[in-house]
């Protein structure tokens, strides 16, 4: 069920590939030297594939090489009229050859990324290969240039859109949110890929196959930069995750509490359509939400902050926010932690419980305390985890959700609690 999108994608790519191989076999391979050169570049690029922030996989050099091949008009003075089928076949062979060393080293094959790229390349090849030999197009360089540019851009966009669709399927994100997030991460590198593909295609006309090597160089520089960026992002998250555990080692909170709260909070945030950068802030805040307890001389028994007085909760939140504030760069994370205990509605409305309930249930945010959405999500997730802990019992989980529901409108954000209940219901289905 969860893999249906991916299955569909891989099947489509496989069918395109079979058709391409059949076409190439019937028509016979052309321009073998050029095909081998591009196949080698694609394999090399696949070998150097790269992980982008947010568990995204990319192979910029291989993708640019394949697109360059699909957009090729001439190598030196020699006109290239390879059929679309051959382009797809060469791309697939290159990808597989580049993926083999990864498999040998015990790393995952990442079929999905390869299928995405293959489909994008196939689309470009299907549109452009038939016109590549057309004299009218080739002579009018303005037309050829704009056509090739739009195809390269379209290919990159297609990859982004397909990835977003798959992510909707996998992570239950909203499509618009997933698309914007995907664009934010992929487009800079995508621009470099499209430009390099065009450079390879154009420069082959001036400098022959040497263009492949020459114009791979700038993209390699780009890739190195992205690798370092993705590396520090991953390290950052690992470090916060690891250091958030100090509260557990110190006996301040139950083992696994921070991680469970952060996972739940992120799931709720995704359910509510929060974008990735804010989702990351939410994750950091959730991981560190109890860090203020380090300033306590003695741990709260069991670490359940929901059981101590409201004043103590506030103090812990303040102390934690102060710690995070020290980092200066995590201002909004500190704010989320600082206000994690604020009730959804200020106490003055609590004097009219009926009215507050109705207003809260109706989702009117008129007199809400105005704490950040992240704080409200963590408040709900934290309370849920304090009640349920590491238990997977669906009955207990349902009871906890019910208890939180009773307090929506005054204590908890109804929206956050509803999202929580959906997340919990899904999870219960898995564990039943």
């Amino acid at each position: 069920m969860r893999d249906s999108g991916q299955l569909l994608l891989v099947t489509a790519a496989g069918m395109v590939l079979v058709a391409s191989v059949a076409q190439t076999a019937v028509a016979g391979p052309r321009d073998v030297r050029i095909a081998v050169a591009f196949g080698a570049l694609i394999a090399f690029g696949e070998l150097l594939r790269l992980n982008l922030p947010g568990d995204r996989e990319s192979a910029p050099v291989g993708f640019a090489g394949a697109l360059g091949y699909a957009l090729l008009i001439r190598v030196g003075a020699h006109p290239v009229d390879d059929a679309a089928g051959q382009v797809v076949t060469v791309t697939a062979i290159g990808m597989i050859a580049g993926a083999l060393p990864h498999l040998a080293a015990g790393r995952p094959a990442r079929v999905r990324g390869m299928a995405l790229r293959l489909l994008s390349v196939a689309c470009v090849a299907l549109v452009f290969r038939p016109i590549a030999g057309n004299a009218d197009v080739v002579k009018n360089w303005g037309l050829a240039f704009s056509l090739m540019t739009s195809l390269a851009v379209a290919a990159v966009l297609l990859e982004v859109v397909l990835t977003a669709v798959l992510r909707v399927d996998e992570q239950r994100a909203r499509f618009r949110v997933a698309l914007v997030d995907e664009m934010r991460v992929q487009l800079p590198l995508g621009a470099a890929v499209a430009a390099s593909a065009l450079l390879i295609a154009f420069a082959a006309e001036v400098m022959g196959l040497a263009a492949l090597a020459v114009f791979t160089a700038p993209l390699l520089v780009t890739q190195v930069a992205f690798r370092r960026y993705a590396g520090i992002r991953a390290t950052y998250l690992q470090t916060v995750r690891a250091l958030a555990k100090v509260t557990e080692i110190g006996g301040y909170v139950e083992v696994g509490h921070s991680e469970r709260v952060s996972k739940l909070a992120v799931a709720i945030g995704r359910e509510l359509g929060i974008h990735e950068p804010e989702l990351l802030e939410l994750e950091y805040a959730a991981l560190m939400h109890d860090i203020g307890q380090l300033s306590l001389r003695d741990p709260i028994p069991g670490g359940a902050t929901v059981l101590v007085s409201r004043q103590d909760q506030r103090r812990i939140a303040e102390l934690g926010a102060d710690v995070i504030q020290q980092a200066r760069v995590l201002g909004s994370v500190a704010e989320i932690v600082r206000r994690q205990n604020e009730p959804y509605r200020e106490t003055d409305t609590a004097s009219l419980p009926g009215a507050a309930w109705e207003q809260g249930a109706a989702g009117q945010h008129g007199r809400a305390s105005g704490s950040p959405l992240g704080s409200r999500i963590i408040k709900a997730a934290n309370a849920f985890d304090d009640l349920v802990g590491s238990s997977l019992d669906p009955v207990r989980a349902a009871a906890a959700v019910q208890r939180l529901r009773l307090d929506t409108g005054s204590e908890y954000d109804p929206g956050a609690v509803e999202a929580l209940s959906r997340v919990v219901a899904r999870r219960s289905l898995i564990h039943l």
């Binding site: 030196g76 003075a77 360089w141 240039f145 800079p188 590198l189 621009a191 470099a192 430009a195 390099s196 065009l198 450079l199 154009f202 420069a203 006309e205 001036v206 400098m207 022959g208 020459v214 114009f215 700038p218 993209l219 520089v221 780009t222 190195v224 930069a225 992205f226 370092r228 960026y229 590396g231 520090i232 992002r233 991953a234 390290t235 950052y236 690992q238 470090t239 916060v240 995750r241 690891a242 250091l243 555990k245 100090v246 080692i249 110190g250 006996g251 860090i291 380090l294 300033s295 001389r297 003695d298 102060d322 710690v323 995070i324 504030q325 020290q326 980092a327 200066r328 760069v329 995590l330």
Partner: protein, 459 residues
């Protein structure tokens, strides 16, 4: 540059006069103005960026690439005009004098690169397939000339102003030596712009530069993330220290001391970074030791001593999942081992102890000795050095003790804030929330003090 000496002013004036002469003399007939317009615009845009990328080996500004492309397309005078566009750059920061000098430098280097290109037999104009590979040698000559002239002129200014800022001049020369090769590499893309111009016209520079601009963006993101990471790591380490008032700033200083030792023995790059983090995180496991044990006055029972001995392992349990740390993990786990094998947690001896752990042990002990503890005052640096020497070979690795002492003699030691002896110091130890909160237990003993022998009841 600030105030210039008379000689330096004369030098700058001469450079500017030469540049003006080039620009005035021309000739301006037959120049490809459309090329100059596109490439000049490119120079203005790239020089207007507020920050130039200076990250490791990736150091580059597109303007020199554009100037080399103009050498091929429009010749020396045209290249000088493109170089002159640096004057228009909308960048705040440099003084007028700096800007004038920079512009003159670019004009001269572009012009001379153009002359070198012609002298080596290069043809001005659009290259085509027949130009390759003959064009490569004149172009390489032009690129070398440009880099050499730029660095020579810049080096001259730095040398003439070296008295004012000796440190920065020194750093500048070292930097430029490293940059020359990469400058040449990026310069090569000037030829590619020129070569592509025949096929895609003025889009050539745009297409060639997009991957680099994206790379620069990614590097800027990387630098920003790295800063954020450092700050977050520092804040979290401080949070860990709030439990123990006396060790405030300890991790930071151990980290600094370890780096001093490592530099002294020639460690660099990723290992040095990992060691720095190991220093910051070495005591993270102390959170697992009950506060009452950590702060107990008087002698410890056998059980309490064992609880303390567990802290390196608990530290390891916390940081194990931080991927890049690798070697640092071993350092954190073994930082209480002794060379004679009488340390904990595993009793390794001599070279069996990981290098990081041996470095950390020296820095850790030294900072403990030079910091105040309730049961003793801070010792002067000299006394602490003598103490390190005394235990060198039994508790500490002699090589690292020697390296540390040499580094301290040269750079000095910034001890913790609030120490009366550290007048004017205190840079290392951040003063966080008021100490009143934590001072609930006045008679606190640092139970992790490697400088004080642990007192166990049964002994």
């Amino acid at each position: 540059m600030g105030k210039l000496s008379r000689v330096a002013l004369l030098y700058v004036t001469a450079v500017v006069a030469a540049a003006v002469a080039v620009l005035v003399r021309g000739p301006f007939t037959g120049l490809g103005w459309s090329y100059i317009a596109v490439l000049g615009a490119l120079v203005i845009i790239s020089e207007s960026r507020a920050t130039q990328l200076r990250q490791g080996r990736l150091s580059w500004s597109p303007s020199s690439t554009a100037m080399l492309a103009s050498v091929v397309l429009v010749g020396p005078v045209g290249a000088a005009l493109v170089g002159a566009c640096t004057a228009v750059a909308l960048r705040r920061g440099p003084s007028v004098l700096q800007r004038v000098f920079n512009t003159a430098m670019h004009v001269l280097s572009a012009y001379l690169a153009g002359r070198a290109y012609l002298a080596l037999g290069g043809h001005v104009g659009l290259p085509d397939a027949s130009s390759f590979p003959r064009i490569i040698w004149p172009f390489a000559g032009a690129a070398v000339t440009q880099v050499a002239v730029n660095h020579g002129l810049l080096g001259g200014v730095l040398w003439l102003t070296r008295d004012a800022e000796p440190a920065s001049a020194h750093a500048g020369v070292g930097l430029s030596a490293r940059l020359q090769l990469s400058d040449l590499g990026y310069g090569a893309f000037g030829l590619l712009i020129a070569a592509l111009w025949r096929v895609v016209g003025p889009f050539a520079p745009v297409l060639v530069l997009i991957p680099f601009i994206v790379a620069r963006w990614a590097m800027a993101q990387f630098a920003e993330q790295q800063r954020a990471y450092e700050a977050t790591m520092g804040a979290l380490c401080q949070a860990v220290e709030t439990k123990d008032f006396y060790t405030r700033g300890h991790s930071e200083r151990v980290s600094r001391g370890s780096v001093m030792i490592a530099r002294e023995i020639g460690m660099r790059g990723a290992r040095l970074e990992a060691l720095r983090y190991a220093g910051m995180l070495h005591d993270v496991g102390k959170l697992g030791v009950p506060t009452k044990v950590l702060q107990k006055t008087g002698k410890l029972t056998e059980e309490e001593y064992q609880a303390i001995q567990l802290h390196p392992m608990q530290g390891l349990a916390i940081v194990r999942e931080i991927g890049f740390l690798d070697e640092a993990l071993a350092g954190i786990m073994h930082h209480h081992e002794r060379i004679d094998g009488r340390g904990y947690p595993t009793g390794l001896a001599g070279d069996e102890i990981p290098e990081f752990a041996r470095v950390l042990a020296v820095a850790d002990a030294f900072d403990s000795m030079t910091s105040t503890r309730s049961y003793r005052g801070a010792r002067p640096v000299e006394e602490a050095i003598a103490e390190l020497g005394k235990w060198s070979g039994t508790q500490f690795d002699p090589a690292f003790v020697a390296a540390f002492v040499a580094a301290i003699r040269r750079e000095g030691w910034q001890r913790s804030a609030g120490e009366p002896a550290a007048a004017g110091g205190g840079l290392g130890a951040p003063s966080t929330a008021g100490p009143q909160d934590e001072r609930s237990a006045p008679a606190v003993q640092d139970r992790d003090d490697p400088a004080a022998p642990q007192r166990v009841d049964s002994q």
